[in-house]
Structure formats: C-alpha cells, structure tokens
C-alpha cells in the first residue's frame, strides 16, 4: 500500500510539474515573436510614441521572468489580466463561457462514453461479424470526416427541416430540458466524432486482452463466455479502458472549438477563435492554459486510476 501511495504522490508531483512547464511554454511562446508584440499589434503605421505607450501598458518594458511571475500569480488567483482588444478583464469574459463549454462537453461525454464502450466491447466479442465490419467502417468514416462536415450534415438533415435549432442561443435562466434540446446538435456532433475514436480503441484493447494466454486458460477450464468476459477479461481491461476514456475526453477539448463555431455556441472555443483572428494574445493564452490544464488533469486522473486497478502494482511481492 505504502508503495502505491508513493507512486501516486509521484504522479501528482509530475502532474504539477507538467502544469508548470505548460504555463511556461504558453507564456514563453510570445517571446518567440520576431520583433516586439506592441509594434506587431499596432502595425507598421504606428508612431514610436504609441508603441512605447503600449509597451509600458503591457509591461513589456519589464524583463520576461518578472512578467511571467506576475502573470502566473495572477492566474492562480483567478486574475487572467485584461483583454488587448476589449480592455475588459479576461476573467469576466471567461466565467459564463467556461460553464457553457463544460456543459457541452459533459453532455457529449454522457452519451458517448457508455455508447462507445458498449459498441466497442460488442465489436470485439463479435469480431469479423457483419456488425463488427459495419461498426468499423462507420467509425472509420466518422473519424475521417472533419467536425464541421458532420456538423453541417446534421444541420442539413435535422435543422433545415426544423426539428432542432441550428444556432444555439442559451441563457442562464433556461430550464435543463430546454438547454439539452437547444444544444442537442452540437452535442451529437461531438458524440459522433468521439464515439468513433473511443469505440475503435475499446475494441482494440479488448481484442488484445482476449488474446492473452489466461483467457485461453479460462476457456479450457470450460467457463461460460459471459463469465470469461466478466470475471477474467474485465478486471484486467479497466486500465486500458480508463485510458481510452481519458484520451477521448481530452479529444473533446479540440473538437469543441470547431463545433462551437459552427453552431455559434457561446463557449470558450468560439471566444478563442475570435481572439486568434483579433490577435488578442492575452485571451488566447488564458484559454489555452485552461484547455491544457484540463487535458493534463484528465491524463493525470487516468494515470492514477489505472494504477489503482492494477493488482501487480497494488500488491507487491
């Protein structure tokens, strides 16, 4: 037990370190800029005075480590600074949008995770059957489609005829049912993409597992197929399945950006795309940090959970 605790603490420490490095990369990326942020922002027509003024305002006259420290301590207290484009505090801009994005991602995950696990396990059990082939071809196609293509196909099929709205306007005082209805199409788009990935990975993990000698042994002991799956395969499948889920929830983060733009959904992704075209680096940095942290934390959770399900690690010699 003691050893596992050490291992988990080690993982947590590594996670914190990773987060730190990520923040360093996200902050440090601006330093790669050829020339100077202020003059880039103002363009070539700017006078030296306005550039100098902006530099002072952005704190660019201070050395990079000082600015990084100020930024990091601010972020840890929930203060992301001020948007370069709108001059509003970034934290205010993020607040409701973060909630919206999390809502959409959870909505998609709630459908996709159980669906893809069931499909993946079935495809693995009925390997090379018609079901397996159709599911595989379908998944392969869904993976190959750009998210916006799926989104527009759904709009074309379901929104154009008026079943669901193609633009998602949500307000805080909507009932949960209304919210679920309005956000159905973006959630479905994300679900399709993620389910395809997750199903394929689950199938591969299960097939890999079913080829293990101890599964053949269980069959030679005359156990029923159901018992083989539940008692002999499943306990060993937890770790790979946890990893599959984590990878795909992390994938939602990327998917959400495009889907939010298509459906004009007021979330972080849409804000990020807007800010990129305005070259509002402060906002982009803040959102990138949030997305990256979510990604790191997901992987960390998966890591810890799969450690806890591994009997080899849980009970040492």
């Amino acid at each position: 037990m003691h050893l596992v605790l050490m291992m988990i603490l080690q993982r947590l420490a590594l996670g914190v370190l990773t987060l730190f490095v990520v923040s360093l990369v996200i902050f440090g990326a601006t330093e790669l800029l050829p020339g100077d942020l202020a003059s880039t922002l103002l363009g070539q027509s700017a006078t030296p005075e306005t550039v100098a003024a902006l530099r002072a305002q952005l704190g660019l006259d201070q050395p990079a480590p000082v600015r990084y420290w100020a930024w990091l301590t601010g972020v840890l207290q929930g203060d992301f600074g001020v948007s370069l484009a709108t001059r509003r505090p970034i934290a205010d801009m993020l607040a409701t949008r973060l909630g919206n994005t999390v809502f959409l991602a959870l909505y998609a995950a709630a459908i996709a995770v159980p669906l893809s696990l069931i499909l993946g396990v079935l495809a693995a059990l009925w390997r090379n059957s018609l079901f397996d082939r159709v599911a595989n071809a379908g998944a392969l196609s869904a993976i190959s489609f750009p998210e916006f293509f799926l989104a527009y196909i759904l709009i074309f099929l379901l929104a154009q005829s008026g079943y669901f709205p193609s633009m998602t306007r949500i307000s805080p005082n909507m009932s949960l049912g209304d919210k679920l209805y309005v956000t159905f199409l973006p959630a479905l788009t994300l679900t399709l993409v993620v389910t395809a990935h997750m199903m394929r990975m689950t199938r591969a993990a299960i097939i890999n597992l079913m080829a293990q000698p101890y599964i053949e042994m269980a069959r030679l002991k005359g156990l029923s197929p159901l018992r083989i799956v539940l008692r002999h395969a499943l306990p060993n499948a937890l770790a790979p399945i946890i990893n599959v889920i984590a990878i795909n929830l992390a994938y939602l983060i990327t998917g959400v950006v495009v889907v939010e733009v298509v459906f004009v959904y007021p979330g972080l992704g849409q804000l990020m795309v807007d800010s990129v075209s305005k070259r509002d680096i402060a906002v982009v940095q803040a959102i990138a940090l949030i997305f990256a942290s979510a990604y790191v934390l997901l992987n960390l959770t998966a890591d810890v959970l799969s450690t806890l399900t591994n009997p080899r690690l849980m009970r040492r010699k």
Partner: protein, 539 residues
Amino acid sequence: MTRGAPLLTIRDLTVEGHAGEDWQPIIENMNLTLHRGEVLGLIGESGAGKSTLGLAAMGFARDGCRISGGEILFDGIDLRKASERVKRGLRGQRIAYVAQSAAASFNPAHKLIDQYGEVPVLKGQPRRKVAAEAVALYRKMQLPAPEEIGFRYPHQVSGGQLQRAMTAMAMACRPDLIIFDEPTTALDVTTQIEVLSAIRDIVRDHDTAAIYITHDLAVVAQMADRIKILLRGREVEEADTRTMLASPKEDYTRSLWAVRSFQREVQPPATGQPLVSVQGVTAGYGKVDILHDISFDIHAGRTVAVVGESGSGKSTAARVITGLLPPRAGQVLFEGVPLPPDYRSRSRAQLRQCQMIYQMADTALNPKLRLRELIGRPAQMYLGLSGRALDSRVRELLDLIELEPDKFIDRLPGELSGGQKQRIGIARALAAEPRLIICDEVTSALDQIVQEGILKLLDKLQREFRLAYMFITHDLATVRAIADEVVIMQQGRIVEQGPKADIFSPPHEPYSELLLSSVPEMDPDWLNRLLKTRSLPGL
C-alpha cells in the same frame, strides 16, 4: 494388463490452420488411443503439431484453426459433434489443461486459490472443502507454505512454483485426463526436477491419464508410459517408452537419438599465453552488480564453455569482453595487452579480433539486407575488399558454411531456414577473420538435428582457422560435445572451472553437482535414481 474401453480415442483427425487465403493442414490423419491412468508422451520439433493435437483432445481449436475431419471420442462422447455446453461441462472437470507458461496463463487479477476453486465451486462443491483440498494438493506438490501460497497473486510467486500451482489447479476436480503442454520448457534444469517429480507423483497417485507434450526426449522418458513421435503433423511411430528408447524403428527417430553422439576430439592441455584473459571483472547495470570478480582464460584454437542457468551472468561476461558493458573493476587482456573497456574506444583491428554469433538468428540478421551485404560488409570494412574481390570472398565464405553460393548470394534472411540463418551468422563472423568467436546459445533455438550440423561446422572451422570459441550455453549435452574447458557460473560468480574431463568427473562443488545431476538423461529410471540419491542425505 487388463484394460476396459479406452478413455480417449482419436481417429483420422485433421486440423487445419488459416494461412493467408486458404486452409493448410496442421495435423493430418492422426490416430491416438489413451487408457485410464496411462501417460502418453508426444514428441516433436517446433511446428510438428503437438500442441494442436493436445488441444484437439479437448475438442478445442485455437483462433484461426479448425478441426476439419475425423473423430475425437472421450469416454464415449464424440467431441466433434458435442454441443459447446457439453464440451464446457467436460473441460476443467474431466479434462484439464496445464499450459507452458504458467506466469501468463494465470489471471493476474485473482488469487491462486480463487482460480483453483473457480470450477469446483461453480459446480456446487462447498468452498471450505475446496480450500482444504487445495492446501492438501499444494502440500503434495511440495509448494512452500501451502496454507498461505494460495492467497498470493500470480506475480508474487516464482515460475517453478506457479507451474506446480497450475498442475494443482488442473487436479482440482480430479479429472480423468490432463494435457501437459511443455510444462517445464520455460524453467531452469534445477527447477525442472522439482516440477517433474511433483507432476509424476500426483498423476500416479490419482491414477489420472495424461498427455505429456514436450520436445525433450530425456524428459518424456521419465514421464511417459508410451511415446508417440510427430513430424510435420503426421505420426512417425509409437511404442512404449523402453522399446522406443532401446530400438527405434524409423530413421527419423534414430536421427533424434543420434544427435547427442557428436563428440569433439580431446585436445592436449592448453599452454602458453592465453588469447583472451578475463581478470577480476566486476560488472553490472545501474546499482546492481551482476558479475562478481570473475577470471578465466581462453586459448587459441580451443573452446571454453560457459555454463549456467538464467541469471547466472554468462551473457553479461560476453558483453564485458566485447566492450558493450565496461566493467566496474578488472580488465580484459587480448594477447597480454589490455583492451579498452568500451567498444567505442577500441580500434578497428581490435574490434575485428572478436566476433559474435547470436542465439536468435532471426534477430541477429538484418531482414532487409541480402546475404551479399550481410556477409560482405565485415570483409569490406576490415579488409578493404570491394568489387570482384569482395564478391569472390563472399562466395568463398558461403562455400565454407556449406551453402551453394550461386543459389544463396542474393537471398534475404527471410528466405532461409533456421539452420541456414545460423550458418549465415557464422559466415558473417568469419568474414572479419577473427581470432575469437563468442557463441551465445547458438544452438538453443534450433531443432536437434539442425543443432548437430551447426556444432560439426563450428568444429571444422575451428580446426581450419585455429579459432578460439567462448561457448555460452545452459545445455550440458552441448558442453559435453564441444568443450575443451568448462566454466560453471551461478549468480554472477564462477563456481568451478577447469578442463572438461575434470569438471564432469567427481568430486564436484555442491552447485556443479546439483546442476550436472539435474540434466535429464534418456534412461527412464534416471529420475527415480536421482530422487533417491538426493533424498538420502536428508534422511
């Protein structure tokens, strides 16, 4: 001996495997009869179809295989026609299976005793009774701490103990038939003895019939009442054990027996300066020392066999000599001059002197290079040959290893048999015109007949070029055949070394005694005698 109806009858069995687009037979027209309480040994080289036959006796075919013809009658039930339900009822209860690798065949997620009890408890036996029986069986199998070992997980138990626990698990429902599929192949010889004797006793005591699958003749001689010999999916011959050992009928069988007859001429004692001298070497990886202060010499034109079980450090010693692992202390002298410890700081001339031949020819030859480049590259590098000179040198080398140059020079390793690949490994080593060749288990991956060819070739080359061999092996039969000097290693230390004649005759060091006596002999009474002599001092 009066016998009732046979327990297992297999008639005209054909099993096919999926190969690309079509089905290829793995076993053809196989017949087999087994009576209650009888042990049948199945012998064959890799690819002979022994495991497939063993599994077919349970009515089971692996994925990608199918039983396509014949009959399998177990106690009157035709397993080919029986429903899955009926077969499931038989498996585990009346027919049990013991796999080659117990470590992989136990489920890592459950305790040993839970896996032991799975079938009996499912069939309605009370848990307590099953647990008590498990402990009794564990004790009978001479497992340490029989009351507790069942509550461990597979990864907490050693390989030899796991193999015994798996035999106990197979015994759980007191089956009529157990299939043993190479149960000791993955074990060291000293561990093998314990498992063999435990398996034999328990099968006898319970009067269980068994099919014992192995490629090792000496092992099967101890275990089986009758022996059946397979070659490429067909039966060669079958007879009771003593008859088979004393007077085999078929040429193929006799050739299996003959392998162990090769014997290198006795050489006069070595004198003068050794070619290679390993002096006080201590080496290891990370913080762990694997070799502790080892010293030995190799003389030109002679073979030093380095013997030991897995983990004894024999391959590590080779890595120190080649410079892959610089030692922590001690040095390696070549003709009296110290070699730089790291191969990267050795000169080309120094690298050339010492060549290696590897155990797995599959991984030792780059599969994407043609033999011309594989063999030619050392000659090109060290001797500066090119163009026609290189071509004729490669042909000369192919001649030396008895492969027809015109036929082979432009082949890829994938187009060769296992024995031919190993010959190419030898040719590549020769191409550098070295003084010392390190042979790392070069024959252990090969079938027995092929082994003999390789040993003879090595011997011929040694006489022709006055080569020194450092021959690493765990197989004492090979040592007897080719060694001049023997070095016995255990846990990174040299236990005993000296001329072959001295090592193989008493008195022995205790570990050498244990190791030498553990090597199975073809005599069917060998195990009995050994167990008797071993138990004497303890009484």
